[in-house]
Amino acid sequence: MKDIPPLEKLPHEIMEEIRERERKVNFVKAIFLDIFFVFYSILVIQRAIYYKFILDLRDIPFSWTEIGWIFATSAIIGSLWAYSRTSLSCKLFGVSKDGNVTKWTVEIFAWLLFDITFIAGWIVTKISIVSLFSADGIHGAERLFGALFTPQFGIFDDALFAMIETIYIALLATLISIPITLFISFFTARNLMRDNKFTFAIYYILRIILNFVRSIEPLIWAIIFSVWVGIGPFAGMIALLVHTIASNAKLYSEAIEGIEEGPVEAISATGANKVQIVWHAVVPQIVLPFLSFTIYRWDINVRMATIIGLVGGGGIGTMLMQYQGLARWREVGLIVIMIAFVVYIMDYISAKIREAIY
């Protein structure tokens, strides 16, 4: 065992150092955030509000040099603003000078940010009251709704089998995901991995991968896998599986992060090793939330499986797509009603099961 050097610094010095470091880190964060705020405001005001709304340009001029100039400008303004210690981010990170100047700039700028974001959103989404209430549009909608509510029962048998296929796709994706997710989730729980640098690196890398996988919608995964393994239920199942693992791993590991620390402390105080601590103190606390998430996910997967069918993932969605392509709205009506019915039942069952296990 190596010798521990005696106390080389006074305790209050150590504390001061900790605080000083924290202040510095927060100040650097504040600079970056301020630059971003200014950059964002200039871009939004110039592009969405000035070009698109005021000048009403069809093609908005774009050049990287211009963006670069805007960024350079905002970098200067942002950092000067942060250095003055009166900026919004300084306030957010608690490193601002307190005074009336800070109060006013923060309030004005926060309102500005909110307002331009709302206005830009309004312009970008092309909100139009006129098209919502145009006679033509309403007439078309009436025709479609009429067909949907007078379903054609001729294809009921086929639709039923496709529906069952969909439920099984969802069920299998959920079941297979359980052991894999369980395994991964322990490595993506901050409280279990933060103790040393190596495990923390694993935690970080896994989190990035999972975030990436999760950010790709199951619909896109279905397209990828229908090329990979061919169109059909298998592609749909794998697509759901991948997304289920990524999203549930996050939920699971959040459940692990939210456990009571007391039992963990108690078990680790008995001299138990890491695996024993996880098994005897962490696992008993997370079994129920895990079960609940998984059942809820099955419910979600049934809904998603219908959508995935639209791009060739098999099941009722594929069938829906075929009849929609043929513009046979009454058959589509039957399928939509069946989907709604099954989703409602699944929702009810999963809620009941989750209630029962708690």
């Binding site: 305790p11 008995t270 695996v275």
Partner: protein, 253 residues
Amino acid sequence: MLLRIENLHKIYKSGTHALKGVNLQVSEGEFLVVIGLSGSGKSTLLRCVNRLLEPTSGKILFFDKDITHIKGEELRSVKKQIGIVFQQFNLIKRRSVLSNVINGRLGSLGTFESILENYSDGVLADARKCLETVGIPEYSSVRADTLSGGQQQRVAIARSLMQNPKLLLADEPVASLDPATSNSIMQYFDRINKEMGTTVICSLHFLSLVRRYATRVIALKAGELVYEGLPVDIDEAWFKKIYGEEAEEVEIK
């Protein structure tokens, strides 16, 4: 000497300076009680002793072995010898009383064995014996969270007894219990101390309990040791010094 603490400092990451140079010696067989206001550093001190926390500086010697900064296997072997009982019991709520008690032995059991919960007869017999020691053998198969507070604390004591501890720490073990139950829980600590010869370090709030059970008392105030002596010597003046001028002693019989 069982435990020697030299100039111990603990500074949390948040900047709180919880212990400010505590010096303390504990010899075998003592029943040492730590008193002081909430936030005075009692919990921090206990958690540094069994190394749930790593001290910032200073030294902790356990049987003359420096345990201040040990890690890994070495740390676990020390933790095995020190039991701890918490204010909030910290049992595994959904598991049975018996498996909670067996958890105390985890440090000595193999990883695989403990995961399969394939315990030897010896371990099971020990666990039953520990439950008998705290007087609740009949509850071994019920779920821990169905028990009352006092019973849960007894399970927690049984769990720490499974470690055959050389030193038993108790962090405000009776602070969330009613006065009658508090006294009966303290009697178990007393018996463990007298009959098994286990050294006990316990933080408490009620001076009546302190006077009845402690062989020695220390008081912490804002992270500093302000009193060390016999329980009978804590008079009005000391009490006010430890708990502040406003404080008055509340006696619960």
